[in-house]
Subunit: 205 residues, 2 copies
């Protein structure tokens, strides 16, 4: 977006992508209000002034962290619907990836959007709009994937089932935030995916 300046100046101590990744993880762990600029600066390896130069203010850094989260953490979830696995298998895989994201790193339990942005959205209109925008985007993406599945494979119409899948995924993220290990959550993914799909042979275990 910008040509290199004639004189390059001192190089950055930390790669901007790495710095943003660190910031995202600090927000993820401590919440928006709980993550102080001092802690962010130290964790990012960027001086305080550098944060304001790059993102304007703490809010800007948080919004950039949300963008990074959406760009790096969400696509691997949706990839569960790639390929042509049976619907029940794809849905179980999707929830499995959700559980993995929420439980893999004990320092960042749950989901930056469902657990952190949700809190910030309580009384801040801009954050609430951002929150809603991201929920809608994910549910719409899920609906797109469900619509591509064979008709009558699902227990409800794709547009009706999609927000239910999204809500369930977020409920699992809250469980992950509480420290539940993946092994305790994966059976939930199996039950949910089974119930969501029309497979008369294996109803009520």
């Amino acid at each position: 977006m910008q040509t290199t300046s004639p004189n390059a100046g001192r190089p950055r101590r930390t790669d901007p992508d790495d710095a943003l990744e660190s910031a995202m993880r600090i927000f993820w762990a401590h919440g928006y209000e709980g993550a102080s600029v001092g802690r962010l600066s130290r964790g990012m390896g960027v001086p305080r002034a550098g944060i304001y130069r790059d993102h304007g203010c703490k809010r800007g850094l948080f919004l950039a962290s949300l963008d990074r989260y959406g760009a790096t953490r969400v696509p691997p979830l949706m990839a569960a619907f790639d390929g042509d696995a049976p619907p029940a298998r794809a849905l179980r895989d999707f929830l499995g990836r959700v559980i993995e994201l929420g439980t893999t790193d004990p320092d960042t339990p749950g989901c930056l959007i469902s657990c952190v942005l949700a809190d910030a959205a309580g009384s801040d209109e801009a954050f609430r709009t951002e929150f809603r925008r991201r929920l809608d985007a994910m549910d719409r993406a899920i609906a797109d994937r469900l619509r591509a599945m064979p008709r009558d494979a699902l227990a409800a119409a794709p547009d009706a089932l999609a927000p239910l899948v999204g809500a369930t995924a977020r409920g699992l993220m809250l469980r992950a935030r509480a420290g539940d290990p993946a092994a305790e959550l994966l059976p939930l993914a199996a039950t949910a995916s089974r119930i969501w799909c029309n497979d008369p042979a294996v109803r009520h275990e």
Copy 2:
């Protein structure tokens, strides 16, 4: 718990129950970190020193607020399972009450536990334990109600379905936090309750 003192002292300006209700709503709206003691004191109608006299510290007031939430907001949800309505009806009623709780007052969107305590649980061990304790209690209560339903009425075993019902309810609370109106969420309750119950006559609309 204590006998009246020989000399009664100056009466309180605000009833302690009303004060705690106000504190709970302020935490609900602004989150744990976002609710300052100054704002709490003003909103409660209790001087700062009174908060520390009654609850020890800000954490103590938050925990007391959680207790009040659990005592006043949760039982009306579980009451959906009273009576002998058909399982699908009871489950839909339950989610309907969840939606109502999360959307009725725009100043306190969503759920104090699922949206506020969840954030605080990220890096605070005590809050995480408290969070998990409350999630477990609710899922156990749901399981008790599901077990009382006629066998083979549900699409999965009660103990397997209960945490799924809990997770879905919390996902709806996040939607409420984002500002979704009840009218947009109620169809989700209908779809979920239908899918959770074995009613072959009305599968895939």
